[in-house]
Each structure stands twice: as C-alpha cells, then as structure tokens.
C-alpha cells in the first residue's frame, strides 16, 4: 500500500532532516532508509530528492561534501549544520503538533 502523493510532499523535508540528524548521508542512502523504515509505504520519485537537498543547502541547513564510496564511486554526502539542527527541532515540534491535532480530529470519536 502507498500513500497519497500530496500527503507525502508535506513531510519529505522533515523525513530528510530527521535522517541527517542521525548521521551524514548521501542521497541514495536516504531514499533506501526512508523506504525501509517506512516498510515501503513512502516511495517517491527519487530525482525530486535532490532539489530539496540543494534548497536545504542553499538555506544553510545542511552542508555537502564529496567522499569516496566503495570502489571508485564518489558520493555527495550531506550533514546538518548548527542552524539546520535547530531548524530540525523546530520542524519536529511543528510536526508533533500537527500530528496530534490531526489524530484528535479524525480519531476524535474513539478518544
């Protein structure tokens, strides 16, 4: 089963930031992690990850560096900056608020 595209769109940035909060990662690694940890629910067009990453870099939330992977394949890693770390926290509390509110409304009858 997969979820509506629009639903996923609003949460891509927070997913990426949360992953990078753990450790620096390269693009494909993030996609694989999101797919795996969401049990395959979250899968989106992988190319659209990069504009998001480049925007985060432009805003100073993440910084990038090239590194050798296995073999000679070079990977562009991203890591959170100090500003990005604060931004991630802010986005997470925003997300928590949103999630609780949605739960309260749509799950209101059971609560």
């Amino acid at each position: 089963m997969s979820v509506n595209k629009e639903l996923l769109k609003g949460s891509t940035v927070i997913l990426i930031l949360t992953l990078l909060d753990r450790r620096p990662m390269y693009g494909y690694e993030m996609i694989a992690a999101i797919e795996q940890e969401s049990g395959g629910v979250f899968s989106f067009k992988e190319g659209t990850l990069y504009p998001i990453l480049h925007d985060l870099e432009s805003d100073g939330h993440v910084e990038a560096y090239w590194s050798e992977g296995e073999g000679s394949r070079k990977r562009k890693y991203y890591r959170l900056t100090e500003i990005g770390r604060k931004y991630t926290q802010a986005r997470r509390s925003e997300w928590d608020l949103f999630r609780t509110a949605v739960d309260r409304v749509i799950g209101g009858s059971q609560a």
Binding site: G47, T48, Y50, R75
Partner: protein, 427 residues
C-alpha cells in the same frame, strides 16, 4: 544490454535533466551526484534478482521524469537577491538625496546650488557601476588581485608623498582601504595557507601600506585597512599564527599612533580636543560643537528641511548626519542608525551565506569597511570617534559615493551567485 548502452542511457537522462538547468557551472556536479544515485539503484535492483537488462530501466523510472527533476533543480540554482541589503541601500540613497535637498533648501552650505543635481548624477553613475559589478562574476578577482593590490599600493604611496593636500590630509587617501579590500579578498582566498612561504607574502601585503598610513595625520585610513584585512583574514581561516600576525600589526599601529600623538604637538592637540571639543571651540572642536548644537535644536521631530542650521562645516559631507537629524529630528536620527545597522547586518549575512572562500572574504571585507566608516561618521558627533572628516556612505555628497554604490553592487553580486557556484568540498 551492454555497459556501453547503459552508459548512453544514463547520459541521455542526465542531458535531459541538465537541459533544464540554466546555470551551466553546476551541471558537472549534479551529473555526478545523480549518476552515482542511478548506479546505486541499479546495483540494488540486480542484488534483488532483477535481470541486469531491466535494472537500469527500473532505476530511471524510479528517478522520475527528467524534465521535472531538471526544472526543480533549476529553481534551486537560480540567481538570488538579498532583498534586505538592496532595500537598505535604496533607503540610504534616498536619505542622501533628501539630505542634499535639505542642505540646499536651508541655505546652510557654502557649496552653492546644484548639490542635489550633482548627487543625482553621481547616484546614477554609481548605480550603473554597481549594476555592472552585480551582474559580473566576482571570481575574476582572483585573476586581478595582484594588479589591483599593486595599483592601490602605488596610489597610496603617490597620494601620501605627492598628493594634493587639503586640511593637512592627502585627498582620496581614505578611499584606498576600500580598494585594497577586494584585492586582499582575491589574494587571501587563493593562497595556500599551509605553504611554507605564504607568511612572506602575507607580511608584504600586510606591511607595505602601513608606513604610508602612519605618515598621514588620519588614523581612519590605517584603522580601515587593518579592519578590512582582519575581516578578510578571519573568513579564510589561515590558522592562528596569521591571526596573531594581524593582531600584532593592529597593536603596533595603535602603538605608533599613540607615540606620534605624544611626539607631534598638533596631533596631541587634536586628541585633547576630541576628548573635550570645548577646549578649542573656534578650531579643531568647531565642527563637533556646531554639529551638536544643530542636533540638540532638532527636537523629536526635527526642524524641517528649510530651517537654517547653525553654521556647520562640511554639512553636506562629513557632517551630513547632524544635518539629517536637524531636519528630521531625533526619532528619525535613531531610525537612521538602525537602518545603518540593518544594512551592516545584511552584509554579514551575505558573508555567512555565500559559498566559497572568495565570496565570504569579499563580503566580510566590504562589511568591515562600511561598518567602520558609518559607525565612525556617526561616532564623531557623539564623542565616540575623533572628528577626522569621515563621510557617511550613500548619504554624504561627493564623487566617492560612486565607489560605495559600486562596492554595494559587488556584495549583492556575491549573494546573487551563491547557488550558482560549483565547488563542494572534498572530504
């Protein structure tokens, strides 16, 4: 399917993506990044038992439509505008035009009429110059850094030794630090600071202008040169020995200034008058005393543009701040100080957010120059800086305003290209 064909399919995809991205400079890096992603995906598909033939097609399908990816990447690498900096500059220029109008309307200048018209002409010329520097790629500075440094040094030496002296000061000497700044940014950002002989170059570049600056009775030029050099130096992170060297230069210039103060009676007099302008109300203290009189008359909301000021020398240039306060009032005076601080803050933002050492160094040096000049100008009238004739960027009168506008355009140009510059660090 052969590896060769694989490769041409990947290339075709990357071509389609990059076809949508106007900034060519970022193409190679984007290609490498997307290519490694696609190849990783192919490997994963193959590992899961997908036949090699289908793996690439599936990987490309996962990536999404090339045109869409390209369009979005294009949006990430478009020119940027630092609107805050642009707006602050525009407001300062408008204030300058108002100031010229008020100075003329109140009849309190000995410059005759036509100040406003001249200011308009200089502004137009400055805006064209700034516009050119805004559009040009600032990285040419790396190539012209040595010639620019050499020319500025020659100008500094010439002005000090043979220049036209007005009020005991060689004309235009105060502009040389601002010209040194882009040269220093170009040099420092290109140097290999780990190299053994870099310190020789550093000492030459740092030390050469200092003897000339110490010869003129004008502490501002030396202060500005050292402030800009230090700001540029800090952004390129050369190591603490170099920062220590800059600190040592600052201390020795400070020491030399104090020594000259004690030795040269005229400088000592000026120093005492700075501490207490009333000591010499008809001489060195005159400008500050008259300016303070004009400001205290203003009241909260000012006297209006046509009200005559007490006689203040240089009311259109190095006393322009008191004249603005006189016509617009203390509230507006405070607002102008805030506007200047906002302008400086946005310049620091450009330095912090632009990519690459050169852009950061350039913006930091420009910020240091404008900061020292603006704060010194205002400081002269509240007793925080010696009154040595420093004009207020964008607001004062004079042809040098063209240079300030040009430099502001340079800073905006650095920000404009912040996402159009290739060069991610190698780890």
């Amino acid at each position: 399917m052969s590896q060769q064909q694989d490769h041409s399919q990947v290339d075709a995809y990357l071509d389609a993506v990059c076809g949508k991205i106007a900034c060519r400079e970022v193409h190679p890096e984007i290609r490498r990044e997307l290519e490694s992603h696609i190849l990783d995906r192919v490997d994963a598909e193959v590992a899961q038992g997908c036949p090699r033939n289908d793996a690439l097609a599936r990987a490309l399908a996962h990536m999404g439509e090339a045109a869409e990816v390209g369009r979005r990447l294009h949006a990430s690498h478009r020119p940027r505008t630092e609107w805050g900096l642009l707006a602050a500059t525009a407001l300062l220029v408008l204030l300058g035009l108002w100031a010229m109008y008020a100075v003329e309307a109140s009849g309190s200048t000995d410059q005759g009429s036509g100040l406003l018209v001249k200011k308009l002409l200089y502004t137009a010329a400055g805006l064209s110059l700034g516009g050119l520097l805004y559009l040009a790629d600032y990285r040419y500075l790396r190539q012209i850094a040595w010639p620019l440094y050499g020319l500025t040094f020659a100008a500094t030496a010439y002005l000090t030794l043979f220049g036209n002296v007005v009020n005991g000061l060689p004309r235009y000497i105060d502009l040389t630090p601002l010209l040194f700044t882009p040269a220093l940014a170009g040099l420092f950002a290109s140097w290999n600071w780990k190299h053994r002989w870099t310190w020789v170059k550093f000492l030459v570049v740092l030390g050469a202008p200092l003897p000339f600056y110490i010869m003129v009775p004008y502490p501002f030029a030396a202060a500005e040169f050292l402030a800009c050099l230090t700001a540029v130096l800090i952004t390129v992170r050369p190591g603490r020995w170099y920062l220590g060297g800059a600190a040592l230069a600052i201390m020795s210039m400070g020491g030399a200034t104090i020594a000259l103060l004690l030795k040269v009676p005229s400088r000592w007099e000026r120093f005492l008058t700075w501490l207490d302008p009333a000591r010499d109300p008809q001489g060195a203290g005159y400008q500050v005393i008259q300016a303070q009189k004009a400001m205290s008359e203003a009241g909260l909301w000012g006297e209006g543009p046509t009200a005559p000021l007490p006689l203040v020398p240089e009311v259109h240039s190095s006393s322009v701040f008191p004249s603005l306060v006189h016509s617009l009032g203390w509230v507006a005076g405070a607002a102008i100080c805030l506007l200047v601080l906002f302008f400086l803050f946005r310049l620091v933002t450009v330095a912090r957010r632009s990519r690459g050492r050169l852009g950061q160094a350039l913006a930091a040096g420009i910020a240091a120059s404008f900061a020292l000049r603006s704060l010194w100008h205002i400081g002269m009238f509240v007793g925080l800086a010696p009154a040595v004739g420093v004009d207020l960027p964008f607001i004062s009168h004079g042809g040098r305003q063209m240079l300030y506008l040009a430099v502001a355009g340079l800073a905006l140009g650095v920000f404009r290209r912040k996402d159009m510059v290739a060069g991610t660090n190698q780890a």
